[in-house]
């Protein structure tokens, strides 16, 4: 993984000093609440219902064991013993005390970490494929490009006060696991007819109140032009994006209003005028960053049968929670953070420490955070899988539910968030209670259930195969259900609302009725979302509301 050089380290150190000064001025009454808000947000600090929430950046989801141990220490010493992995490959702490936040940031800096630009109207953490570097369908490792974009975006003097937040995702594989079509900018690594590597650039995708699939602004951009193209897109957005209405301020609104062709015209004009002095990636700099993402010291192994003779539980876990690896003899292993004992994405300090130790023993000391709020050991020898499974079982990180209904995404909802309309964790519990039969879950196959406590859509409900959205009706919590959405690749699309909202107690029954329709009507090999798309929501709607008639 990338290692800081003195420049990287100094920027992070100086950022900590800057924020310490800002915090002290705020606490001394020299900085207004409103001004401090702008500044603390750019350092990942929100004020939530009960306490500040600190979001720490995990660039493209990649972590070392040393970093995990610092996460554990922060959870233990500054929080209530846990952290929460987010859908954007970051980690959040829900209970830090404001005066101590600079100390937390200083601690993070000792392991090359920070909270820079994890919130606020600026360029956020760059996200990517959680199987980068190991996936069989990968054309090019996206991580060096993520790092180059991360550095360009960090404390960018011109784009630190944008109309609204700005998210960039990069993918280099055939299967898009980074949801590039629902980002402000999506970068897809590809080769042109001449075999040259470059980027397709998508712009104006997003979720939230106005979900939109991004449009292609450039079909092929050469690597050395990547940053200059990004600068021109950002400059046009910074100047032309709406600032009068927070709900209309994302780049997707601008692109939609102008149309992609007109938007491209503006970007082209800026690019033509600025190309001589815009940042350009040199071959040397690309090579320098790429050198950090060389493969680890794999052994020469063959694929082995690790399930024969083993019990059903291990087989299930192997089937559900591990993935193919491009190197023979290795597998990628998911650590499920979807236990019945904790909210989705939550992890305790003891688990974090244990994961750090296991990573060192079994996966070259590295861990990845996924978009689905789980963790991955990317490089595990197949011969170690059984032993690793036993150890993960012992720390409750081996629930064999990856990709199933109970591998749910949920934002914290009304339990912690001041924006939420409704609770999400209680609904998660209801679903976990009802759907505890793994064989039934496996029969249902891949289902992405995504839940948000309000229309800000932190749980990405629009792109769930099943989406659940908390709504407030006369002070009561209700839940709207959408079906047929999907986050990734060509199938990325938004779900459709099936009808009236439900009380939370009704949700398990509603899901069961939807699944009954699916099981009855599915064709061979069809996933739930495929059946919905083939038939439309009609039969599902009829099934879901059958008791209303």
């Amino acid at each position: 993984m990338y290692k800081y050089d003195p420049i990287d380290q100094q920027i992070v150190n100086e950022r900590v000093a800057q924020f310490r000064d800002q915090t002290q001025r705020f606490l001394a009454g020299q900085l207004s609440e409103d001004d401090f808000r702008q500044l603390r947000l750019r350092n990942g600090l929100y004020i939530q219902r009960y306490a500040p929430m600190l979001r720490v950046s995990i660039p493209y989801g990649l972590l070392s064991s040393a970093q995990l141990r610092v996460f554990a220490r922060i959870a233990r010493e500054y929080d209530k013993g846990f952290g929460h992995f987010t859908t954007r490959q970051n980690i959040q702490y829900n209970w830090p005390e404001l005066p101590k936040v600079p100390d937390i940031l200083e601690l993070l800096a000792t392991v090359e970490m920070h909270a820079i630009q994890t919130s606020g109207n600026c360029i956020r953490n760059v996200t990517s494929d959680h199987l980068a570097g190991v996936a069989k369908d990968e054309l090019e490792d996206p991580r060096p490009w993520c790092e180059l974009v991360r550095q360009w975006a960090t404390v960018h003097p011109e784009f630190n006060f944008l109309p609204r937040k700005f998210k960039i995702a990069v993918t280099g594989a055939i299967a898009d696991r980074a949801a590039v079509r629902v980002h402000d900018i999506g970068l897809i690594l590809k080769r042109n007819a001449a075999g040259m590597l470059g980027f397709e650039i998508l712009v104006g995708g997003g979720l939230g109140r106005m979900p939109i699939i991004g449009k292609t602004i450039y079909d092929f951009v050469e690597p050395h032009e990547l940053l200059s193209r990004l600068e021109s897109i950002l400059r046009v957005y910074n100047l032309e994006g709406r600032r009068d209405n927070i709900h209309k301020a994302r780049i997707k609104v601008l692109v939609k209003a102008l149309g992609i062709d007109k938007f491209r015209e503006l970007v082209d004009a800026d690019w033509a005028a600025s190309r001589d002095y815009a940042p350009s990636l040199t071959a040397a700099e690309i090579a320098r960053v790429k050198s950090f993402f060389t493969p680890p010291a794999y052994q020469t192994l063959s694929d082995v049968d690790v399930v024969t003779g083993k019990g059903n539980e291990f087989r299930r876990w192997y089937q559900q929670n591990t993935r193919a690896h491009k190197v023979p003899g290795y597998r990628a292993v998911f650590l499920s953070l979807k236990s019945t004992k904790r909210p989705p994405g939550d992890i305790t300090d003891a688990q974090l420490d244990a994961v750090a130790n296991l990573a060192e023993t079994y996966s070259f000391g590295e861990v990845r955070a996924t978009h689905d709020q789980n963790l991955i050991f990317a490089d595990v020898r197949q011969q170690d899988l059984f032993e690793l499974w036993q150890k993960l079982e012992a720390i409750d990180l081996a629930r064999a539910n990856i990709g199933t209904l109970t591998d749910m995404i949920a934002c914290p909802g009304l339990d912690l968030c001041s924006l939420a309309n409704a609770r999400t964790y209680t609904v998660v519990d209801l679903i976990n209670e009802r759907f505890d039969d793994l064989d039934y879950l496996y029969d249902l196959g891949e289902i992405q259930l995504k839940m948000s406590g309000c229309m800000n859509a932190c749980g990405h409900h629009h792109v769930g195969h099943i989406g659940i959205l908390g709504v407030d009706k006369h002070g009561e919590e209700w839940y709207q259900v959408t079906i047929g959405g999907a986050p990734n690749g060509q199938e990325a699309d938004l779900g459709e609302v099936i009808g009236r909202s439900f009380k939370q107690e009704e949700i398990p029954d509603v899901l069961e009725r939807l699944f009954r329709v699916y099981i009855e009507l599915r064709e061979e090999g069809e996933r739930f979302v495929d059946t919905v798309r083939r038939l439309g929501i009609g039969p599902f709607k009829a099934g879901a509301y059958a008791q209303d008639h």
């Binding site: 420049i7 920027i11 109207n121 003097p157 944008l162």
Partner: protein, 160 residues
């Protein structure tokens, strides 16, 4: 007399706004007035500056770059970010080399990024502590981006 920060020094402002002194020898005008009285103003032999707001297009000044000695960019608060791009375009695309001044509701915390975008003068609201504001220019000693480094903020960058 008003004090401003220019090129990392606290100095007395040698400019006046047209509302303060219509006949000043160095006068800052509104964009509307500049456009309406352009010819007579140019003939007056005075030093001329124009003030533009965040929504104004800097392209409107493209023809006048060499005739203006000052352009003032108005900021309406910490969250208003258009002035950074306006400054960048004026300095780089139009090679404006007069005084580029940030005015309005500006504060210490913005100065570093402003300087990096080519702003070299800062008219902070009355009552601001300019001595403290000067420390903003040393918030960082390194940067990832090629900056314009106006106002004497020169940062170390990675050689590549």
């Amino acid at each position: 007399m008003r004090k401003i920060i220019k090129q990392r020094q606290i100095i007395a402002d040698s400019w006046q706004y047209v509302e303060e002194a219509p006949d000043a020898s160095a006068v800052i005008l509104s964009l509307t007035q500049w456009q309406a009285e352009r010819e007579s103003l140019l003939a007056s032999g005075r030093k001329l500056g124009v003030k533009i707001g965040p929504a104004d297009k800097v392209e409107m000044l493209a023809e006048d770059i060499s005739k203006l000695q000052l352009i003032a960019l108005e900021f309406t608060g910490l969250g208003e970010g258009r002035g950074y791009s306006q400054a960048h375009i004026l300095r780089r695309r139009y090679s404006f080399n007069g005084e580029l001044r940030a005015i309005g509701k500006i504060q210490r915390d913005q100065l570093f990024c402003m300087a990096r975008c080519g702003i070299d003068a800062y008219e902070l609201p009355e009552g601001s502590n300019l001595e403290v504001a000067l420390t903003a220019f040393t918030d960082y000693s390194v940067a990832y981006q090629p900056g314009i480094d106006a106002g004497g903020v020169q940062l170390k960058q990675r050689a590549s």
